[in-house]
Amino acid sequence: MTIAAFLLLALVAGLVIYDWATLRGKNRRALIVEIAVFVAGAVFIVFPDRATALAHVVGIGRGVDFLLYPTVIWLVRESLLSRRHRIESAERLTHVVRELAIARAADVK
């Protein structure tokens, strides 16, 4: 195992332990999904040839590209969806705060 693979595995293990410690008792299903994805990632880190073999099957040159392409596409989409949800939430908050302000508005005597 290379130094890079060892460091990446340490990072993955550290993240899983941190999330398990901080999320324990809540979001258990999400944590299980995260661990499953990380374990799959760890397998490709330890056995990069497997990723390359899979990449060749679908016509991509390198294993890392096989993983990177869909990941980048998914992250960009996730970023846009997340931004839209934040804007919609902010809009709802604005509406509530404004209606409250208007309902309570009063003439200064």
């Binding site: 902010a90 809009e91 705060v97 404004r98 302000a101 508005a105 009063a106 003439d107 200064v108």
Partner: protein, 231 residues
């Protein structure tokens, strides 16, 4: 009039602005929106009202931004039982003069749908760095709205009722100034520019918009362009 105050200086600046409006011999209603000030603006912070000078105080329980406060004031004004000859927006931090607010209102009474303040024709002491930012903002706004105006992001503006009904502000923060110009340009309204004086002091510069805020305005406009239909 949007107001987000922190500290005694802000209260005094607000009170001075309201006092100067009260001193004018005109019938004026101020729709004052406290945009989440801590502590909240209380009626005791404000000058006394009378038959010709009325204040309607509303409060955002959290700070939303100047654009949101203006939109709340706009909705309050449109829901008010009285229909007014002109609707003027102005800052509460002491930068704007009551005299100029009334000059803008007069422009509406004389037939304009919208009157924008032009600080470069008035007796304004615009700092050099702000001049550069405003020059760039003016060209940016000209490019996206098609309006050839001499000033940009000036909080002193006035609307007739039908124009006000058509200017629904969705930009909560400072990008509302560009949004208003965009809405006005699309509505094909009669526009005039009126000379106004904007006073920059250490205090108003500290309380007001920073030059770096231009980047945030561009970001907000871009987000509205991308996601505006979801809002």
């Amino acid at each position: 009039m949007p107001s987000h105050i922190s500290g005694r200086d802000g209260v005094e600046a607000l009170r001075a602005t309201l006092d100067s409006l009260r001193a004018r011999d005109e019938a004026i209603t101020v729709f004052l929106v406290d945009d989440g000030s801590e502590p909240a603006i209380s009626p005791s912070d404000l000058p006394a009202t009378n038959d010709t000078f009325r204040i309607v105080l509303a409060r955002h329980v959290v700070n939303l931004g100047q654009g949101a406060a203006l939109e709340t004031a706009r909705q309050l004004a449109l829901r008010d039982a009285t229909s007014y000859a002109a609707y003027v927006t102005m800052d509460a931090d002491g930068q704007h003069r009551a005299y100029d607010a009334l000059a803008l209102a007069r422009a509406i009474e004389e037939g304009a749908d919208v009157a924008f303040g032009n600080r470069f024709l008035g007796d304004s002491n615009v700092p050099p760095a702000r001049r550069v930012v405003l020059f760039l903002a003016r060209w940016f706004e000209r490019a996206i709205t098609g309006l050839r105006l001499a000033d940009a992001h000036n909080g002193l503006r006035a609307f007739g009722r039908s124009a006000l009904e058509r200017v629904r502000i969705r930009q909560n923060r400072m990008a509302h100034a560009t949004e208003i110009k965009l809405l006005v340009s699309r509505a094909e309204l009669r526009i005039v520019e009126v000379p106004v004086s904007v006073r920059y002091t250490k205090e108003t510069l500290a309380r007001g918009q920073t030059n770096a805020g231009a980047a945030l305005i561009l970001r907000d406009l871009m987000l509205q362009y991308l996601f505006g239909d979801s809002k």
